[in-house]
Every structure is written in C-alpha cells, then in structure tokens.
Symmetry: C2
Subunit: 201 residues, 2 copies
DNA sequence: GGACGATTCCTAACCATGTTAGGCGAAGCT
DNA sequence: AGCTTCGCCTAACATGGTTAGGAATCGTCC
C-alpha cells in the first residue's frame, strides 16, 4: 500500500506532467493550427515519445477533452470577472455580454474551434469538461434573467446571433474588425425587439 | 493521335466515372458521416481499389472540391427557382431567402458541413467550385438590392444571422424545428432595424 | 539493505488512410 | 499486326493513433 504522503507527491507529479502536455498541445495548436496537433509532436515538445502520453491521457480525444474543459473554464473566469461590474442598463448588459463573448471567441482561433463540438469528429466531452461549458451557460442565463430575459427562445436567439457573428468574423475577416462593428448593431436589433429601453448617453 | 469520335466517347466515360465516384462519396458521407469518407470505402462502392480513384481525381481534396461545387450548384438551382416567384413586400422577400437557406442548410448535414470551408482542414476550393458559391452570393446580393438593401454591412449582418441560426439548429436541435421558429423572429428583428414596412395580413 | 510493486518511460509494432510507383491488359489508332 | 493510351491493378510508403511488452526508477516493507 502506498503511503499518503507519497500518493500526494506522486499525484502532484502526475498533475504537473498533464499540465505540461496540455501546454505543449496548446502551443502546437496555436503555432500550427489544430490540424497539426499530433501526439508525436506534442510528445516531442515535452521530451517524450508518443506512446508515453498514454500514461497521462487515455487517448488523443482525452487531450482534446482536457483542452475543451480548460477553454471553457478560462471563459468562465473571464465572464465571472465581467459579471462583477455589470452596468445598470439592460441594453448595456447585453452589449457587455456580447462583446465579452466576441472578444474571447476572436482572440484565439484554435481555442474557439475547440470550444465548438463540431470541430473534432466523434468528439463528445466528458461530464466534467461539459460541466465547465454548462457553468458558463448558467452564468449567462443568470445575467440575462437579471435584466428580465428568461424565455429559452430569447436566450437561444441571442446566442445564435452572437455566435453567428463570431463565426463570420473567423470565416470572412480573420484578424480584422469587420464584425465587431456589426456586433453593436445586432445587440441593438435584439434589444429593440425585446423592447429594452435605449441607453442613456 | 486519337480520333475525334473516340475522344468524345472516352471523355463521356470519364465523366460518367467521375459522377459515379462522387455519387458514392455522397452516399458514404450521408450514411456514415463526413468523417467516414475514405478513399478505400468510396472505391469499394464503385468496384475499384483506392489508388484507381487517382485516375479520376487528383487527390481526396479534389473529391471534396467537386462535392463542394456540386453542393453550391445545387443551392444555386434551388435559389434560382425561388427567385422567380418573389413576393412583392420586402419583408416577405427576406423571410423567403432566410427560409430557403435554412431549409437547405438543415436538410442535409454532410452537405452543410461541406459547404462550410472550416470543416475540412487545409481545404481551399478551386476557382471553378468557388465560383458556384460566388454565384449564389451574387444572386443573394441582387435580390437584396431589389428591396433596397445594398450596404455590405447590412448583407453581412443578414448572412451571419441566418447562418448562426442554421448552425445552432445543427448544434443544439438536429432533427427538430426549434430554430426554424426563431428564424421568423430574427427576420423581423432585422427588417425592423432596417425600417422595412410590416407585412400586410 | 534488499526484495517487491507501482509508475513511467521506452522500442517495436499494428492498423488505418492518403498517396506514389510501376506493371498488366484491353481497346483503339494507323 | 504493332504501337499507344488508358484504366485498373498490386505493392509499398508516410503519417498518425494506438497497443504490447520490457526496462529503469523510486518508494515501501520486511
């Protein structure tokens, strides 16, 4: 039987190794694109051979899964910070949420691709990773509720709207700001449709 | 030198073979998903071995390219038909375009994935295939111009809106009709923002 | 202190898939 | 008939995910 202290030390080493592998995976994805993320390349960056990664992750999908969870957790942190200083006016709240999402989505292409479940064929996140995404959505729902928007359809519409703009940004003007301008118009369209009062100047 | 009649006959056989291969590729994609589209599988369905496909397509990407062109050409035909009986009221025109796109996009998942350039890594359509997509966009721009919408930003916004809803449909409610209902709301939002007159009952 | 057990890395290899090389046979041209 | 062309074949290669099995390391226990 392993002693408690040892188990703790070992699990810390395990965690460190996992973190290092994930960091390498992110580096590869950012430098050469998600498509270039190969086990042999990741392994090389941490001074290992590909099969050794299996001591830390059950499969390549497990690495994707961890990255997926990390990305959503990252977004959750950013959103949490933003929620603490929410404007008073509902319309400004919408704008804030929209901008936050858009900035996060357009700041890092591989991260954004990874957060989209359609990107990796046959990928389904683990419960744990998926919970990170759900947490974000719960926070979003709470904020929306605080300005009186609770209907599922209203929430879905807002998400589709902002998501469509972020995707269009990547598809049609990566690196530019063409859709950032449209974002404000979209938010206003949406706010008008829901009869939110205009902003004070 | 080959005789004229023979060349013609041979090129017809070549075309027939290409069509057969593409049909098999579509069948595989629809039955087992885009990810299951493998050269060996396609070849098997047309009674060949994988390398023989290279007599008809330069690479797997060339097959994707042909499928991409076909998909957009298909949409172009559908759009052309719709354009011939456009309603008189601008708002109804928008609704018509939106519904048309949404229905086409949600009718066939692999086709929709393929029409999105992000789906296949490192895929860039040939000029010829891309022209099919451009043709669709030109038609769209013409119709929009006919109801007085010409600004690039207005067009981009509409496309992002409808595209976002179609993507959300696939992501969150495949097989359902949750986002079809939202489509009409989105169109109205957009039409209101552009001060289009309401529809007559 | 030495044997045991777990852990972690390695090499070798397997399988799937896109792709290339090279050959064989049929079919048409001259 | 002889030559060329074409379409298909088999064999093989490169890459990439994965598995099998072994060796080294390190903490634990007698």
């Amino acid at each position: 039987m392993l002693g408690e202290a040892t188990a703790d030390w070992q699990s810390k080493r395990r965690e460190a190794a996992r973190r290092e592998i994930l960091a390498a995976a992110w580096a590869v994805a950012r430098e050469n694109g998600l498509g270039a993320l190969t086990l042999r390349e990741v392994a090389a960056r941490v001074g290992m051979r590909a099969p050794s990664l299996y001591s830390h992750f059950a499969s390549k999908h497990a690495i994707y899964d961890a990255m997926y969870g990390q990305a959503w957790a990252e977004y959750d942190r950013a959103a949490e910070a933003a929620v603490r200083h929410l404007p008073a006016e509902p319309r400004r709240v919408l704008r804030e949420i929209a901008r936050q999402y858009f900035e996060f989505a357009t700041a890092d292409m591989p991260r954004h691709q990874l957060m989209d479940l359609r990107t990796i064929p046959d990928f389904t996140p683990s419960d744990e990773s998926y919970a990170c995404a759900v947490r974000v959505y719960d926070r979003f729902r709470t904020v929306m509720a605080s300005i009186g928007i609770t209907a599922d359809e209203d929430l879905d519409l807002f998400v589709a709207l902002i998501g469509g703009l972020a995707d269009s940004q990547w598809a049609n003007d990566p690196g530019g700001d063409r859709y950032a301008r449209l974002l404000d118009r979209a938010v206003d369209m949406y706010a008008d449709a829901l009869h939110l009062p205009p902003e004070e100047p």
